[in-house]
């Protein structure tokens, strides 16, 4: 009995002396055992890069694609200049597994879809590289959970908890504001230069709208992207149009065929900011909290009565580790179409 308890203490001691050694179950149910000290994390896509950077900027080995100067300006030195390492899974694999190995990676993280395709890819890369590969759900509401799990894996649970708790709180605040809203305007989200690409209920591209409880005009379309006809948009007659395409935003005012849509007649067509990461649709990561605030302000101006500049500054400070300058904020929010004039 004494021997057993001694063994137990020994085990407990070994266990406790190895922080980060504890296994974490990822969103696919796979047990991930990272090495004792995770110093270098490879993010498989932009949403994962954002979370890793937010928790511990020094541990991110590189961005999926190198930042352009206007994007890098939002991050403290030298993080805007981190190397381009490519995308590992999901759509368009641009990374080379050897690059991941060469970057002396301790942990690979992907945040996004957790379906069988992505899970099997994660397994395959993990077997090939012998580097633990964790996969987390990228939905807006899963972001706090992803942050916490990632923090445990990376050995930074405190920093992650701070971010997660704040994010959770902001989501709760958003929901309460939406619940107070008395009217829900009909919204159409138009992508692509023609503005005729949209998505139905459940599309990852319109998750912000679903989260805001907005009435998506194209709700009946398939969950995913699809082209719709302009006649259909005129028939839906949305009160607000949101877009991520500056070309569409510009042309919607000059094209007579858009003129009879209620949103165009009422000048309620808005263009989402896109720096350093898009706000509204892509990349589908934690950045979309900004899009939820922005769209919320446009759809429910009375309930979303906060100062967007304060909110944006806070998000940037917590997730990008640098507050935007006044000029940057002016450029973000003052771009034509971003906010009502």
């Amino acid at each position: 009995m004494r021997r057993v308890s001694r063994l137990f203490f020994l085990l407990a001691f070994v266990w406790g002396s190895c922080p980060g050694q504890s296994a974490v179950t990822d969103a696919t149910g796979r047990e991930i055992r990272p090495p004792a000290n995770v110093e270098r994390v490879y993010a498989a896509g932009p949403p994962a890069g954002m979370l890793v950077f937010a928790i511990a900027p020094g541990k991110l080995t590189g961005w999926t694609r190198s930042m352009r100067p206007n994007e890098a300006a939002f991050f403290p030195e030298p993080y805007g200049q981190l190397p381009e390492l490519g995308r590992l899974t999901g759509r368009g694999n641009t990374a080379n597994v050897e690059v991941v190995l060469k970057a002396k990676t301790d942990l690979i993280v992907d945040v996004g879809s957790t379906g069988e395709t992505h899970a099997s890819l994660a397994n395959q890369v993990q077997q090939q590289t012998r580097i633990p590969y964790a996969l987390f759900d990228g939905r807006i509401e899963s972001t706090p959970a992803a942050l916490r799990a990632l923090g445990r894996l990376m050995g930074d649970p405190a920093a992650a908890e701070k971010l997660a708790a704040w994010y959770e709180n902001e989501l709760k605040d958003l929901k309460q504001r939406v619940a107070r809203a008395s009217s829900h305007p009909l919204v159409y989200y138009g992508r692509s230069p023609s503005g005729l690409q949209s998505g139905g209920k459940g599309s990852i591209n319109l998750e912000v709208l679903d989260f805001l409880g907005a009435r998506n005009a194209a709700a009946a379309a398939r969950p995913g992207l699809a082209t719709v006809s302009l006649e259909q948009v005129i028939l839906w007659d949305p009160e607000v149009i949101l877009t991520t395409d500056p070309n569409f935003w510009k042309s919607v005012w000059t094209e007579p065929r858009w003129r009879s849509v209620k949103a165009v007649a009422a000048k309620r067509v808005y263009l989402s900011p896109h720096l350093p990461f898009g706000w509204f649709d892509f990349p589908p990561g934690a950045n979309r909290l900004l899009g939820a605030w922005w769209a919320g302000k446009l759809l429910y101006p009375k309930e979303f009565d906060f100062d967007l500049r304060v909110k944006v500054t806070e998000f940037h400070r917590r997730f990008y580790h640098r507050e935007p300058t006044k000029a940057q904020l002016d450029a973000l929010l003052g771009e034509p179409g971003v906010l009502p004039q």
């Binding site: 398939r222 006649e231 028939l235």
Partner: protein, 327 residues
Amino acid sequence: MTRISYLAAGGMLLCLVAVAFAVGRYPVSLSELLSVLTGQPVAGSVETVVLQVRGPRILAALLVGAALAAAGTAYQGMFRNPLVSPDILGVSTGAALGAVLGIFLSQGILFIQVFAFIGGLAAVGLVYWIGSRLRGHDPLLALVLTGVVIGTLLGSVIALLKYLADPYNQLPAITYWLLGSLASISPKEILYSIPLLLAGLAPMLLLRWRMNLLALPDDEARALGVDVRRLRTLVVVCATLMTASAVAISGIIGWVGLLIPHAARLLVGPDFGRLLPLAMLLGAAFLLAVDTLCRTIATIEVPPGVLTALIGTPFFLWLFALARRRW
């Protein structure tokens, strides 16, 4: 037979146009439609729908269908080959590369279309320039082979751009462009493309009787006093102009340029003078029918290329079995 075919095709086209104006996602009653077309005021968005959205789209379907069918007819005659379609010399692939480049560079619709148009012309220009410099071969064979390899090359450049494109934003836009669609046609685009289409069509119509000589071996045609090389260049230029301006506004819609010339030939025989106008009528009718289905059967748009293939494949096989003796 010829006259009956023309009358039937023309009548069918008129009926289709009437149906196309009457149906769509936005409900427009017959009386509203008549008021709009006669210039009387109508309540709501009906006028916009009919004059700005549905009307231009019907016109675009007619133009693109006729252009692709005409180009296909000319090429099938010139190459003496029933499997030739308008993109044999790489015009569609070149246009696709231009459009993909435009999307990659985050351009608006107008520039994407201009890029596509220039890309189509440039690709065929390149193919023709190289193909006509390969001496010691049958000139047509050299042209076709050059078209195939240059098309493959351009295809891999497209693949490279897709690979480098932003997967969340640009890649879907590229995919949708390559699928082809008439959903975003505006009246302005049609105004730009009509002169280009006519510039390609006019010489072909004027020379339609001489086009038959292209089907003869070169020396025989020369013996009849026709400069085959010049005529051939002219056909390539005209067909390319028509296809490039069509593809620039519609994206890639397959099968029309391959299938319709066969159907027309089955009805009136291989004489180009009789064939060309009928092929254009049938091409216009076919694409209008397909596009009307594309925009009405579901909340979302159906890509026309998918429907043309679904209809085209069995129809083509049937035609082929039927018309074997003519070729």
